[in-house]
């Protein structure tokens, strides 16, 4: 029994190698959310298309990426694709895998937001001559955002943690770097606790940001509008 090593624990808590790993985790999260939202928006629009083929393609996409673990998706992209001649670097594979996977989840959030906007609002916008893209931009999306923002905030929290899966293909984010240090120093418990604390700090800080955003949104839409008239 080695017991708990306080000195080692504090050393790693302030370790720049791990701190940079946490920054990479933040970067991966920001990228996944942004790319996932953009892609997810288009998938949501496809999913709601009048054309059967388009909505089927979108449904298949969502089914595929939500029905398989990200772990498996990443391994297929990084380890499997070279077999058919598609070679992607660790970082390319990570970014691609995260974006594709998140897009599937986010598209459902976006779609729920869009479908929540009453049909009459679209008719009213059409009646003053707005074009479909304008209606999406000026009428549907701003109203959908009310509904989208809270689950989107939760997605950020979950993506912050999900990025750790990329460690399996040796993406050097927080968890991977923790594991690298463990192999050098064998302070297993201390290092994982440090990693856990880093994740906690990031998710807690995000929760704070999210609350601020929601409060501001509430004000922007006016109290009565927030409660749906």
């Amino acid at each position: 029994m080695k017991g708990w090593n306080w000195q080692g624990f504090f050393e790693y808590l302030t370790n720049t190698y791990l701190f940079e790993g946490a920054l990479v985790t933040l970067g991966l999260t920001a990228f996944s959310m942004t790319a996932g939202l953009i892609l997810g928006f288009f998938i949501a629009v496809l999913r709601m298309s009048r054309f059967r083929i388009l909505s089927t393609i979108a449904s298949l996409y969502i089914w595929l990426f939500r029905g398989t673990p990200l772990l498996v998706q990443l391994i297929i992209i990084y380890t499997g694709l070279p077999q058919v001649g598609i070679k992607l670097s660790v970082i390319q594979s990570t970014l691609l895998g995260l974006a594709l996977c998140e897009a599937a989840y986010l598209s459902e959030i976006v779609r729920a937001g869009i479908t929540s906007v009453p049909r009459g609002q679209v008719n009213a916008a059409r009646a003053i001559g707005m074009r479909e893209a304008q209606i999406m931009r000026y009428v549907i999306m701003p109203q959908a955002l009310r509904l989208i923002i809270p689950p989107l905030g939760n997605s950020v929290n979950s993506v912050l943690k999900t990025t750790s899966i990329a460690s399996i293909i040796s993406m050097e984010e927080l968890l991977r770097r923790t594991q690298v240090l463990i192999q050098e120093k064998f302070l297993v418990l201390e290092l994982f606790v440090v990693a856990a604390i880093y994740y906690l700090i990031m998710t807690t800080a995000w929760e704070f940001v999210q609350r601020r955003i929601e409060a501001r949104l509430g004000k922007a839409y006016g109290q009565s509008a927030m409660t749906g008239l």
């Binding site: 008719n123 916008a125 059409r126 009646a127 003053i128 001559g129 839409y221």
Partner: protein, 249 residues
């Protein structure tokens, strides 16, 4: 547009919502420039569908609809451009709930007509004053009463300088004490010569300003008559039955 050219022309309009359900049956109607037409009929008779078709918010299955000479029922029609010329007011107001009253009146002017912000605001304020809502421009729709919201909705439509206005039961969702404030605005519009097609059961309004009444039942235009004739001597049993139900004896 010559004065002789009708504002709306519906030629044998048929519409099926599904293969087994025909909502509009061979509807023909001509509305002249400056005319006020009231459409009435039992619930589910197709009144809303008819006026939505007139603004291309619903597609017809066959037949033709012309608005100020331009056909809206061809695949080539630029529907947004055609819709922008005709104002529409809905039963449930449908103000954009995330925008202030002022923004509601400006968005179409700026994004559709390409007016400058200043011009749009000036026009908006003028119209808000006209419908009696001046001083509420900064509020959100949810902060206004139903009657106020509906007057804003009328102003929003007028901000586009429409050649005609369509109303779908504009007072049906209102508390009784608010009905008149909306009808008053509509009466003054009619008196200024606006072409209007109004779906309503407000027969007082119909008597006062309607040139003609269109009576619909089960998807058909059953009767079209000058309002005095329609109220005094409805030609069909169906219209008589309908009137006896909605008019106080």
């Amino acid at each position: 547009m010559s004065d002789a050219m009708p504002m709306f022309e519906l030629q044998s309009v048929n519409k099926w919502y599904s293969p087994s359900f025909q909502v509009l049956k061979n509807c023909c109607l001509t509305v002249g420039k400056g005319e006020v037409v009231v459409v009435c009929g039992p619930s589910g008779s197709g009144k809303s569908t008819l006026i939505k078709c007139m603004n291309a918010l619903e597609a017809v299955t066959d037949g033709r609809i012309l608005v100020a000479g331009a056909e809206v029922t061809t695949p080539k029609a630029d529907l947004p451009a055609l819709r922008a010329r005709v104002g529409m007011v809905f039963q449930s107001f449908e103000l954009f709930s995330h925008m202030t009253i002022l923004e509601n009146l400006c968005i179409g002017q700026e994004k559709v007509l390409g007016r400058s912000r200043e011009a749009a605001i000036a026009k908006a304020n003028l119209l808000l004053e006209r419908v009696g809502i001046a001083g509420q421009a900064g509020k959100y729709p949810g902060q206004l009463s139903g009657g106020q919201q509906q007057r804003v909705a009328i102003a929003r439509a007028l901000a586009m300088d429409p050649v005609a206005m369509l109303f779908d039961e504009p007072t049906s969702a209102l508390d009784p004490e608010m009905i008149n404030e909306v009808l008053d605005v509509m009466v003054s519009l009619a008196q200024e010569g606006m072409t209007m097609v109004v779906v309503t059961h407000e027969m007082g309004f119909a008597r006062k300003v309607a040139d003609r009444i269109v009576f619909m039942d089960a998807g058909e235009i059953v009767e079209v008559a000058p309002s005095e004739t329609f109220f005094a001597a409805p030609q069909t049993d169906r219209a008589r039955a309908f009137l006896s139900k909605i008019l106080p004896h």
